[in-house]
Subunit: 308 residues, 2 copies
């Protein structure tokens, strides 16, 4: 079943200890749609500037992504410049030029409105709500956010959260949003704000899922070389939502949710192996299947007939 | 099969955001032996001072621990004073008084020497070797160490590592020992120093096992309240070695190793719920079994019939 994503498309200038790339294709919606396109029909909503290379849109189209919701506006595309140190856990932002993102007013093509699944990537919560207003009773809505909105637009963010089923959020931002250090307590507080399910991303430590009275913990794929972590979180969300949309069940079960978290982790593990979406561009379906099986071997242990 | 542990017995003064305790029973060998005593016969080697309360030794005896290897020396017992902030991930050491530990010269009672299993807790690598010299072909030897020995006695530590099967080490210290940020690379380097198996403890993020060409990742138990993290690592090692000794197989299999890591995580999750060994003192076998099953539900996910 089709999946709508609203977020950013950008050109990123990124430096890591392993190299650097100028004006590499990036943005939350780009990573998300590349990732989810392996699993389902993806309908993309974003804004790009006059400088946006049509080849980059063709790349997404080549993956089957519907780009009729991508608006071309006057001005330059969103640009982010950042640098990672050796621990690769946090980017140092050197420059952010919002450009056309300043006037972004997402409009969903008619064909998108009846999609069952919606992902609101990290944008202004007011815009997230505008998108929700245009959807025709989606079955499942997930969103992301960041410290900028938590500290600067908390009331609007809470209005968004009251309308979504799943929040996918970084560890530090979960603590900030909930005002709690302990992640279980943070998840409980956040679930009180609306989302029945909370997913906390912990970078190289994996992800935690809080759903009903269950907790599920998925590790990250142990990579010898993380080349560039940019886009890992959005790629994770893409694999996660892509799997859920592909399964397209009337009710979200714990089984599907758990598999979706693993699939998100699988997809993110590819993205960080190269700059931009380069690894996803050359990704083969067999590689996804292989890595999903690897996650099983990474976490599996046998029951004990007698524990003590 | 019986298990020998050599390490420290101490009185700790600990302050956490949740309370404080003066002269609480602590030390690596104390936590280790309490934890492993649930699974196997434990033979304890340590030194205590004249101030050591005989009731504390009786507590261990009551758990079936053989304390004939505990030497009572002239002087005061080892004392550590530390404080934890809200994140509880690292202790700030306020005071360390080695006292009788300065003259520690571990001597194994004859009855200990034929034990199949040996754990060398974090002490001077020279002493670790002295203990190894006294053992009669143990089937499996594991050890711990810390930054103090890595920076101050690396040559001696390497001599120890060349003689052990398993190194259980903190994340930061693994990086320091190997001179590598990436944990997979660090594990590879450390395995080149001797231990065929490396276990990296990551506190609230769980533990990683590197064994043959496999990696296993176990999460930590998600606790709403970590009361006092002191002793978590040694309790982990106790559950880990205790399970291996209880299974007592001629060859260490991946199945047993993985279960042992989970058992270590289970035991550590109890220790941090209270000061000192208080939680372990009142621990029931059914609670261990329940929490082992919880770890299964925490990490389990179903295979996909069709991945993509």
């Amino acid at each position: 079943m089709s999946l709508v994503v609203v977020g950013t498309m950008a050109y990123d200038s990124v430096k890591t200890p392993f190299g650097q790339r100028d004006r590499a294709l990036g943005g939350s919606a780009t990573y998300f749609s590349m990732s989810s396109s392996f699993f389902t029909q993806v309908n993309l909503v974003a804004v790009v500037g006059e400088d946006f290379d049509s080849k980059d849109l063709q790349t997404l189209q080549g993956q089957g992504v519907d780009i009729s919701g991508v608006e071309k506006a006057n001005g330059k595309s969103f640009h982010w410049k950042g640098e990672y140190g050796y621990d690769l856990s946090e980017a140092k932002t050197l420059d952010t030029q919002l450009n056309v993102l300043m006037g972004f007013d997402p409009k969903l093509p008619d064909g998108y409105r009846k999609s069952n699944y919606l992902f609101l990537a990290n944008i202004d919560p007011k815009l997230q709500q505008k998108v929700l207003d245009q959807m025709d009773k989606p079955r499942l809505v997930a969103c992301d956010t960041m410290n900028f909105w938590i500290s600067g637009a908390l009331d609007e963010l809470k209005k968004t959260l009251a309308r979504v089923d799943i929040l996918i959020i970084n560890e530090g931002e979960a603590r900030m949003l909930a005002g709690a250090t302990n992640l279980q307590k943070a998840a409980k507080t956040i679930r009180g704000m609306g989302p029945s399910t909370v997913i906390i991303k912990r970078g190289e430590y994996g992800a935690l899922l809080f759903h009903e009275d269950e907790i599920f913990s998925a590790p990250a794929y142990p990579l010898e070389d993380v080349f560039d972590p940019t886009g890992a979180g959005d790629t994770f969300a893409g694999g996660f939502m892509g799997h859920i949309a592909r399964m397209n069940q009337p009710k979200l079960t714990a089984t599907i949710l758990r598999q979706a978290i693993v699939m998100g982790s699988v997809m993110a593990s590819f993205t960080v192996e190269d700059f931009s979406i380069d690894r996803l561009r050359r990704l083969k379906r067999e590689e996804i299947a292989d890595r999903f099986r690897f996650f099983k071997s990474l976490t599996h242990f046998d029951d004990l007939t007698e524990v003590v």
